[in-house]
């Protein structure tokens, strides 16, 4: 409980009032250096903001500079007369502040307590608690049959399942406990039953104890096997029928869907075949026919254009093939040139007679990289040779690649 908020019976001597909270000291402490007294909580909070005494602003270096106030001060504040905090609820208690906690815990009839039944959850004044417990919705009650303790709210449900409750049989009027009642109902001789063959048409009704006598004389009994066979067959047929129906339903759905699609399609197509027909209905037939003519001529025109475009496409195709072929030829000529270049280089080297054959490969790579064509490929000389042999016939048709021109002088410089 918070002693800072209690109400005092008499006005309190101002010397017993904490300057910070302005209520009588709670747990008073004294600052060693300056001797001023505060509630322990008040001075602790004040020092968080500023480490000076709130009264004379003298510096306080640490919390250790407090000591508990003199016993006489503590006693004086503890013995101050207070009202009970439940005064507004009706408690008339007045007593020393130090006894207040005991009063609230043990004596005060106006303190609010939680109902002892957890499910209830209500807060009840202590004085009303015993009365509440008698009428609490969540209190425990005894079942009159099985003596078990059951919560009031579940009592009704319990009555149906209570194993010890006596139940009278509605047919033979004997009584027994609930757990045996269901079993008894199965075999009660007085229970009204119908013939076992009621579904096939026997109209006999009577007591369960007479059933076996009837069965002996029942005209449906000999036909039992026949009936059950047909019943089974009938059921199978019904099942099949059901399945077929679902199939038909599914097919119908599909047909509907397709019809919708077809009609949408035809709507869409009508935009192209008869764009004016819809709008010109009101304008008359002659308009319609002239529009038709215009459309026809337009159509012819478009057909011609499409044909022309087709021809152009064929031409372009031919050109493309030609182009591809040309590219291939150019490539092969390039390869030949490269081969020749290397042969020439090799010959030049040999003529100088200096370098060994291993060095040639290195220089071949270099020429390849330095050449303005920028072909980085290093084709082995023999592979090149075979290619050049194959391609010589093309050489006469082709102009040498443009880039070869400026490269030749470089080769000579080497």
């Amino acid at each position: 409980m918070d002693l800072n908020s209690v109400v005092y019976v008499e006005s309190v001597n101002s010397n017993l009032i904490c300057c910070v909270c302005q209520t009588p000291f709670v747990d008073p402490v004294v600052i060693e250096s300056c001797g001023h007294t505060f509630c322990k909580n008040c001075i602790t909070q004040a020092l968080l903001t500023r480490s000076t005494c709130p009264v004379d602003r003298s510096h306080i270096s640490s919390v250790n500079e407090f000591r508990p106030a003199a016993k006489i001060i503590v006693n004086m504040v503890n013995e101050l007369l207070t009202y009970c905090p439940n005064k507004n609820a009706g408690c008339t208690y007045q007593g020393q502040r130090q006894l207040l906690i005991y009063h609230l815990k043990e004596e005060c009839m106006f303190a609010k307590l939680a109902c002892r039944n957890e499910e209830c959850g209500e807060m009840i004044l202590k004085k009303d608690l015993s009365k509440h417990m008698e009428s609490c919705k969540a209190r425990m009650v005894k079942c009159e049959n099985c003596e078990a303790k059951v919560q009031l709210s579940t009592l009704e449900g319990h009555k149906f399942t209570c194993p010890v409750k006596n139940i009278e049989c509605p047919f033979c009027h004997t009584t027994r406990i609930q757990s045996e009642h269901t079993l008894h109902l199965e075999e009660c001789p007085e229970k009204p039953v119908t013939c076992l063959h009621v579904e096939f048409g026997c109209s006999w009704e009577g007591r369960q104890c007479d059933l076996s006598d009837h069965i002996v004389s029942c005209s449906y009994e000999p036909l039992k096997g026949f009936f059950s066979m047909y019943k089974q067959r009938n059921e199978a047929l019904e099942q099949e029928n059901q399945q077929l129906r679902t199939n038909i339903q599914e097919l119908n759905n599909t047909v509907d869907l397709l019809e919708n699609q077809v009609s949408a399609m035809s709507d869409w197509l009508s935009n192209f075949t008869d764009p004016k027909g819809l709008s010109s209905n009101s304008e008359g037939q002659h308009l319609n026919s002239s529009a038709h003519d215009i459309l026809l001529s337009g159509n012819d025109h478009i057909k011609n254009e499409i044909e022309n475009l087709n021809f152009s496409l064929v031409d372009i195709d031919a050109i493309m093939t030609e182009n591809m072929r040309m590219q291939e030829e150019i490539q092969s000529v390039k390869n030949i040139c490269h081969g020749l270049r290397m042969q020439m280089h090799y010959l030049l080297m040999e003529k100088r007679g200096g370098e060994p054959s291993v060095g040639t490969t290195g220089s071949v790579v270099r020429t390849g990289l330095n050449g303005p064509i920028g072909i980085g490929r290093t084709v082995p000389p023999n592979a090149n040779n075979s290619k050049s042999g194959h391609d010589t016939s093309l050489e006469s048709n082709m102009r040498p690649p443009r880039s070869l021109g400026p490269e030749s002088p470089r080769q000579e410089k080497l």
Binding site: T23, L48, V55
Partner: protein, 149 residues
């Protein structure tokens, strides 16, 4: 806990100011614990006799550990330590605040500051300060030098 102290202390101060008001000081508006308004009458026999001023107190949840924001509103007294935007140059409102002080003691300090004034004139740097000051006087770096007025 701090918040409990804040509300308890302010409600206590309010009851005290209403039951036992100091001469010339009256609470006019105290609907919340955020801000109060009080009127301050100039004391008879001083330069401000017959004048009535309004003080606004704004409390932070840390009151009384932190000082309230105190400014004049409306009719602002002409005084060497009171700026024309209502800000008051008074050390107990800033670095010399102590939780022992209260609304009542602040009002009395201001009343005494007005009463001891000998010449009604604005602070010498009034124009510059009013132009540059923040809304809250607590954001100003004050320097206190004059103990006479």
């Amino acid at each position: 806990m701090s918040n409990a102290l804040f509300t308890k202390r302010l409600s206590k101060e309010l009851v005290d100011l209403k039951i036992n008001p100091p001469v010339g000081i009256e609470v006019t508006e105290a609907d919340t614990f955020k801000s109060w308004k009080l009127t301050l009458d100039g004391v008879d026999g001083t330069l401000y006799a017959g004048e009535r001023f309004t003080l606004e107190f704004r409390f932070s949840p840390n009151y009384p550990m932190e000082s309230p924001e105190v400014v004049f509103t409306g009719n602002i007294p002409i005084h060497p330590h009171i700026y024309s935007n209502g800000h008051i140059c008074l050390n107990v409102l800033y670095n010399q605040w102590s939780p022992v002080l209260s609304v009542r003691s602040v009002c009395l300090s201001i009343q005494s500051m007005l009463s001891s004034c000998t010449c009604k004139e604005p602070p010498p740097d009034n124009n510059h300060y009013v132009k540059t000051a923040k809304a809250s006087p607590k954001q100003t770096q004050w320097s206190f030098h004059d103990d006479s007025v």
